[in-house]
Subunit: 206 residues, 2 copies
DNA sequence: TAGATTGTTAATCGATTAACAATC
DNA sequence: TAGATTGTTAATCGATTAACAATC
């Protein structure tokens, strides 16, 4: 018999999981064996109830009267988040230095950046940086999971990326994308505008 | 007599406002004079009810039986969001090319990037790129509102930024910040991890 | 056993949606 | 006037929190 059906994680919970992951990893590095929901909660600025209900789906690590065992909790969380999936990615747009900077951050989370495509990639930047013109053929040979979109040339559509086998997009351009695959639309300008608005509220002007 | 007290916008609404802003600007550019809540809704993938309740706080532009007048709605939204505030910003960490790329995106929203600080800024990159060592004195002379944090050197703390007059931080580093000023914590790794998780769910594995 | 802390339920809170009266 | 569409209220939905029984 299957274990009881899990209900889908809420959007809020999904945003919190990577934070639990980071903090648990830190505890693990420091050789901490157990942690309570209150400790996690105060560290992450949420309530202990929140922590318990979020972590409850990762059965096994929580022990009544004791707390959570760091190691099994971390392992289970990693498994659920797919942290060991070894995803591959491509970056579209921006310059090579931006791509390299981003690539470094992604590799820290087990996502390997295969290529950077741009309109002005030069011969000597290959094989990492390539021109947009060879994107389709490159992805046909070398399947990649994620695409980070800094900009898209006129010659390509978002649908082309789906057709090329991309399975998830982090879209940083100014235009929201709606596609059959998962997309995180996060225009840089929107985030800055939100921050400016929050400053304004904080200053008491709105 | 004051107009009735506005209740604070919900977090969801604040995330939607920049999207309304973008789409309204587009309509304005195209010379469209009016738009209905249904049109806005279908464009932004939300319900017409959502649009009406979000825009309701911007009194004046909605006319019963007609819809919204694009121009006044855009103007009022800009005003509320503080789009004309001409904020200044600094970027910390990353290389000069990353900073320039980001600076371009911010300037499209009226935020001007004054300086980029890094550990390896060279003489000839001045005055845009400067070493971290001169951050405090530079900000003392030239007040800046926003800081984009790609990384922070050991010699500086987040509190130093607050002391230097920074009023809002977009934190892209791997460590969440809790400060008395507005902070948007958005670690790059977390976003990618979330995207990987969503792909996993979409693939049916979790 | 006594103390601690989880898992889980029920209560609360807030955001979203539906519906419709108001009115252009 | 008839038709359209907002503003606003009430209903719904879902997420967060409090509380406590279960149990280590």
């Amino acid at each position: 018999m299957e274990k009881k059906a899990e209900k889908a994680a809420s959007a809020g919970a999904v945003r919190r999981y990577p934070r639990y992951f980071r903090y648990l990893r830190e505890l693990l590095m420091n050789g901490v064996l157990r942690v309570s929901s209150s400790e996690l909660a105060s560290r992450l600025s949420v309530t202990p109830s929140q922590v318990r209900s979020d972590l409850n789906r990762f059965a096994g690590a929580g022990i009544q009267g004791y707390g959570y065992q760091v190691k099994p909790l971390y392992t289970e969380l990693s498994r659920k988040l797919g942290a060991g999936d070894k995803r591959s990615a491509v970056i579209l747009g921006g310059n090579r230095f931006v791509a390299e900077e981003l690539a470094g951050k992604l590799e820290g989370r087990g996502v390997f950046v295969r290529h950077h495509f741009s309109s002005d990639a030069t011969e000597e930047e290959a094989p990492f940086s390539l021109p947009f013109s060879v994107l389709k053929e490159t992805l046909a040979e070398e399947r990649c999971d994620l695409a980070l979109l800094l900009s898209l040339p006129d010659t390509l559509t978002p649908e082309d990326l789906v057709a090329a086998g991309i399975r998830g997009i982090w879209n940083l351009t100014q235009t929201d994308l709606v596609l059959p695959i998962p997309v995180i639309n996060l225009p840089v300008g929107d985030v800055v505008m939100r921050l400016c608005y929050e400053i304004r509220c904080w200053e008491g002007k709105a």
